[in-house]
Symmetry: C2
Subunit: 210 residues, 2 copies
């Protein structure tokens, strides 16, 4: 088994297990045994469990922000005024399409993102801010431009409202979908849910009275 093979197998197993159970609830022994590699391989290749967690995030966050940057480049280049719905739509379309094209599971990433915020891993938050803060600030800046009437502080609070609605909903997507299917018999796909989320989030950003 080559090195890259072992590294990839560990990342695959860790990603799935973290999303399913959380970080502290997933032991290195569970990861290595489902990956079919030796226990010591994690500390050998990644150094520690913390660094493994960061590596899992890096592997999906880098292609995501790259795709988002490219999308923003294109929108800016083709000129035209950037509307709120377009920007929010871009964000979701990239997250949904860009990742699943690569055979990656967008729900799983939303779950991991939610964990990054709610599980108590200070190192993870610092890592993400340091590595991807620029992309985040660029998107936020463009969105603020599209909302000239909203004062900065209110805007940023609403940005967090949107972030919360998105991360919370999509990271619990399966559970919510199951409840709705049971109560209404109507199943909703992930793209449908995002179609519902775009106008809702946009409306929240744009309210006048604030």
């Amino acid at each position: 088994m080559s090195q890259t093979d072992t590294v990839t197998r560990i990342l695959d197993a860790a990603e799935a297990l973290f999303a399913e159970r959380g970080f502290t609830e997933t032991s290195l022994r569970t990861i290595t045994s489902t990956a079919g590699v030796n226990l010591a391989a994690v500390n050998y290749h990644f150094g520690s469990k913390k660094e493994l967690i960061q590596a899992v995030f890096e592997r999906f966050l880098t292609p995501f922000t790259d795709a988002l940057e490219a999308e923003l480049d294109q929108r800016v280049a083709t000129g035209g005024t950037l509307r709120v719905e377009d920007l929010v739509g871009s964000l979701f379309r990239v997250g949904l399409g860009g990742l699943s094209e690569r055979g990656l599971d967008p729900q799983r990433f939303m779950r991991l993102l939610g964990l990054a915020y709610t599980q108590f891993q200070g190192h993870l938050r610092r890592f993400i801010v340091a590595r991807y803060g620029n992309s985040y600030r660029r998107f936020a800046g463009l969105l603020a431009q599209a909302l000239p009437g909203v004062d900065p502080v209110t805007f940023y609070w609403r940005l967090y409202f949107m972030l919360g609605a998105t991360i919370f909903t999509l990271s619990s997507y399966d559970a919510i979908e199951a409840i709705l299917r049971e109560d209404f018999g109507a199943q909703s796909s992930l793209p449908e849910t995002l179609e519902r989320l775009v106008p809702a989030a946009s409306a929240m950003l744009k309210v006048e009275a604030g």
Copy 2:
């Protein structure tokens, strides 16, 4: 040290530590030592760590839902059409005022509520649904009545959007507030943030296109 004293001290310590670090990240030894009681006291009085977690939630969720029910009773009794803003406002006012009147910390409870959803404690979710599901369904029903134009499935998705925005934002309130104060020099109080959240959440519930 009387029994109630020990029980209360354990609950106080557990509540603060859980909100600060999470469930699995908080050991019984940390709880009992900060509470100043013996390690075995938790298993003696509560049975297990799981039941301690449930007891912590029961202690603040019961007064909260009681106050919410009372508020809803009053609104229904005084007649008048129930508007979306009023219902959402009631929810927040009760959560903020009703709890802090009792000397309880509303942010901490939002943090705990967030954990209940994102940490992987199946027993907790089941416990909360079983104990407080009726209050939740009553509130959701009244809110749905105030939104006659919105189809049920869309309504429930938006309810989760609102839940996510609220829990996510308020459970990270301190962190977000610190960032905004650093970047804009403007500090926002918790009531101010809720004043921003009420119209934003209401707008999200009411959007037409969807």
